[in-house]
């Protein structure tokens, strides 16, 4: 096994942001997933102005990632630029582009692994899981000024994984049926042996020792093998939140980035006491609750020894974050999350409503694709 040494943590600007979105490539004929990522990228003439557009594990996926930005407005502008670039290129290749955490009815054996040494190696190692990994997530990077802060923030954000899962949930359908989950995507991720939570670690030194231990045991080769819900990303100097489903539009993706940025600021500023060892006992249960029930989840608190309704917790959290969000200039992005919770709206509910209206999933994907391809109305900073 070729192990790759852990890179030094590259310090980055405090609370800088980066967003990655995995998007679906669908056929315009029947809106099933189609194979086309390699051809799409080969013929793309794009100067990288808004960030990167790259391959993901299968030919039916494409990943976009923004430039590092200090503000959510900057992230939103990059995402809009990437969306418009891909929209135009996909249209000239007769391919549809779609958000959402899963494709509602694709048949996973039909997926093709993308060319490339890493993808080939993943297929060798994980077999059919690699093809079933054709699910679509949003990853949010938050910049940290030093490695120890990054490890602390990784632990602290772990408690809020259910919040990110519930707010982003957009994968209720799998294999052509309603899974009853709000986010079924994470079930595909949890099959991987190194998925789950970062273990309790105090600082960067502890993390490097833990990683060296994993390498010595032959479990992990590089940090990319750690499919943790929240993980440090030393080469970017960030902490990466990896549990969000890809939302149905760009505005929602920006709002989730705003939540990550303002929450990280509040955590780093107030430094609440962490008991990661106790949290580890309830983390899987809480994540399941959020995946299954979304905002209606009941979240266990291992310190207070009780359960609370996630919706109520989120209302309080978003109120708590108001000042930090204002300081960061992103409170107008959080407002749409507050409104969504108040109106009991979610991407998963929108998809189910589409299914109820049309009684078939092809039309649901058609609507979803049309929604992503329309420019999202961006919230005004004056409104908050």
């Amino acid at each position: 096994m070729n192990s790759k040494a852990l890179e030094d943590f590259r310090d980055s600007a405090a609370l800088s942001l980066g967003v990655e979105l995995e998007l679906q490539l669908v056929s315009l004929r029947d809106f099933d997933l189609t194979r086309g990522a390699t051809d799409l990228l080969d013929s793309l003439k794009y100067d990288g102005k808004y960030g990167e557009i790259k391959l993901e594990i299968t030919e039916s996926m494409i990943e976009v990632s923004t430039q590092p930005q200090t503000t959510v407005d900057g992230i939103a502008a990059d995402l809009e630029g990437l969306r418009a670039t891909l929209k135009s290129h996909c249209q000239s290749n007769n391919i549809g582009l779609c958000g959402g955490g899963t494709h509602p009815f694709h048949h996973w054996p039909e997926r093709r692994i993308c060319p490339g040494e890493r993808f080939d190696s993943l297929y060798q190692r994980y077999g059919y899981l690699a093809k079933q990994f054709t699910v679509f997530g949003q990853h949010i990077h938050v910049g940290c000024t030093n490695a120890d802060d990054a490890i602390w923030l990784t632990q602290a954000l772990g408690v809020y994984v259910p919040a990110f899962v519930a707010l982003s949930a957009s994968s209720p359908f799998v294999d052509g049926v309603d899974s009853f989950f709000q986010s079924a995507r994470l079930n595909a991720v949890s099959a991987f042996p190194l998925s789950g939570q970062c273990p309790p670690l105090n600082d960067w030194q502890a993390f490097t020792e833990h990683f060296a231990f994993l390498q010595a045991c032959g479990i992990a080769q590089s940090i990319k093998d750690l499919y943790w819900d929240v993980r440090p990303k030393p080469e970017f100097g960030t902490v990466e939140i990896r549990v969000c489903d890809t939302p149905l539009d760009i505005a929602k993706a920006s709002s989730l980035a705003a939540l990550a940025q303002s929450l990280s600021r509040w955590l780093l500023r107030t430094r609440p006491a962490l008991d990661t060892a106790r949290q580890a006992h309830v983390a899987r249960y809480n994540k399941f609750q959020a995946c299954r029930y979304g905002l209606a989840a009941h979240i266990s608190d291992p310190l207070a020894l009780n359960q609370s309704n996630l919706r109520n917790t989120l209302v309080d959290l978003l109120e708590t974050l108001r000042d930090d969000a204002r300081e960061l200039g992103c409170d107008h992005w959080l407002e749409s999350l507050r409104q969504e919770i108040a109106d009991n709206r979610s991407d998963a509910a929108w998809l189910r409503a589409g299914h109820a209206q049309h009684s078939n999933l092809n039309d649901v994907v058609r609507m979803t694709s049309e929604r992503l391809l329309q420019a999202s109305p961006m919230p005004s900073s004056k409104s908050s």
Partner: protein
């Protein structure tokens, strides 16, 4: 079937007729259903055997079955049996043409002008170069040279669709092969209607035929397609999307179009192609957009290609006509590959080349168009159209292999060759 065996059997049967009064008279021809089954089994066995042992596309095996058992070689499928099986061939070709018509996405041309340019280059170059070859090199009259160009300029929708289905191919090369095939078929049908008028103008004493026949063919096919597609959409709107009931309605309306087209002497392939195009264009509520033909249409397709193989008059082909047909195919290949390669497009040059190779098949519709035109003036038509018929015959065997090669080289088939790690 060997005649001696048949005679012995007939004698024995007739000797029993007096005593066994329940026996029917000795059957003079084979029952249609029995014929259908025999063609199916023969085609299937040879197609599967060649596919398994030589890696050839199954379609080639079906055609070879037709050639071997048809009038040209063993004669087990005779001319009467071929005429009897023609409705099955029409139904099979009709369904495949319907599917190609449904897949014709003109919106893609609007969104990608480079694609429009390469499509026009393919149509223009193919027709003109084949016409020039047939007129200047082979020495056909302008009317028959135009007829030759009209029937051979297009790619073969049936072969292309079946090859893509067989390989479960998906990707930009696949999509472009389908698009170019559908559009060149449409152009070929228009050229075919015009050529009918030209042939009448050259041979008929009554000028009315030169005007009325193309109008009858094009107008009749369009009106019939309009009516059948409208009926299918109207009924299917009240049925659940993708339901079995919708599949039945789709097939029933297609068969209705096939039947009426046969009654009115309107080309089946043109009618069904237009029905498919109109079904897709007028389906504003996505009523039938996602409804797919059942896998069973493969059964009809096997019979179609066995019949085509048996219909080809191999005994009429000589060395000279063989060389001329090869020449036509070289000119046609150069036109198609050149048009795709040089006219640009948003695809990498090597992939454009593969699209050019993938659209080489020339098949069922060309053979049927040749017979439609030749039937007008049998005394001159049959000999004048030996060239496109021979070219189609050669391409029946080479075309599926070329299409398969292009799709495999493009890396767009379902089997990605990565078997060591995965189960798929």
């Amino acid at each position: 079937m060997p005649n001696s065996l048949l005679t012995t059997l007939r004698t024995l049967w007739e000797s029993l007729l007096d005593r066994l009064f329940f026996l029917p008279p000795f059957p003079d021809s084979i029952d249609s259903l029995a014929l259908f089954s025999l063609l199916l089994v023969l085609g299937l066995l040879i197609g599967e055997w060649l596919h398994k042992h030589a890696g050839w596309p199954k379609v080639i095996g079906y055609v070879i079955a037709g050639i071997v058992f048809g009038p040209s070689l063993l004669g087990w499928i005779d001319v009467e049996a071929l005429a009897q099986a023609r409705p099955i061939a029409d139904a099979a070709l009709g369904l495949l043409m319907l599917e190609v018509g449904r897949r014709l996405d003109l919106g893609w041309l609007r969104r990608n002008p480079q694609l429009l340019r390469s499509t026009l280059a393919d149509i223009g170059l193919s027709f003109n170069l084949i016409f020039l070859f047939a007129y200047a090199v082979v020495g056909l009259s302008p009317a028959w040279a135009a007829a030759t160009a009209a029937v051979t300029m297009a790619s073969a929708p049936a072969v292309v669709l079946l090859t893509i289905e067989e390989l479960k191919a998906q990707g930009q090369v696949t999509e472009r092969i389908i698009l170019h095939t559908a559009i060149s078929s449409a152009a070929s049908f228009i050229a075919f209607a015009i050529v009918l008028g030209i042939v009448h103008a050259e041979h008929s004493a009554d000028w009315l035929n030169a005007l009325a026949h193309p109008l009858w063919v094009a107008g009749g096919a369009f009106l019939l397609a309009l009516a059948c597609s409208g009926l299918a959409l109207f009924i299917s709107r009240s049925l659940p999307k993708r339901s079995l009931a919708q599949v039945f309605i789709l097939i029933a309306c297609a068969m209705l179009a096939v039947g009426i087209a046969r009654m009115l002497a309107v080309p089946v392939f043109l009618t069904l192609f237009l029905t498919g195009v109109l079904l897709a264009a007028r389906d504003h509520h996505q009523s039938l957009r996602y409804t797919e033909l059942p896998e069973g249409h493969w059964l009809l397709a096997i019979v179609l290609f066995v019949i085509i193989g048996a219909s080809l008059p191999w005994q009429e082909f000589g060395w000279l006509s063989g060389m001329q047909a090869l020449g036509l195919l070289v000119v046609r290949a150069a036109a198609k590959i050149g048009a795709l390669f040089w006219s640009g497009g948003s695809l990498a040059p090597d992939k454009r080349l593969l699209v050019g190779v993938g659209i080489q098949p020339l098949s069922a519709t060309a053979v049927f168009m040749v017979y439609e035109i030749a039937a007008l003036y049998p005394e001159v038509g049959r000999s004048a159209l030996t060239l496109p018929l021979f070219a189609a015959a050669l391409m029946e065997l080479a075309g599926p292999a070329l299409c398969r090669l292009a799709l495999i080289r493009a890396g767009e088939c379902a089997n990605d060759g990565k078997t060591s790690g995965g189960i798929a």
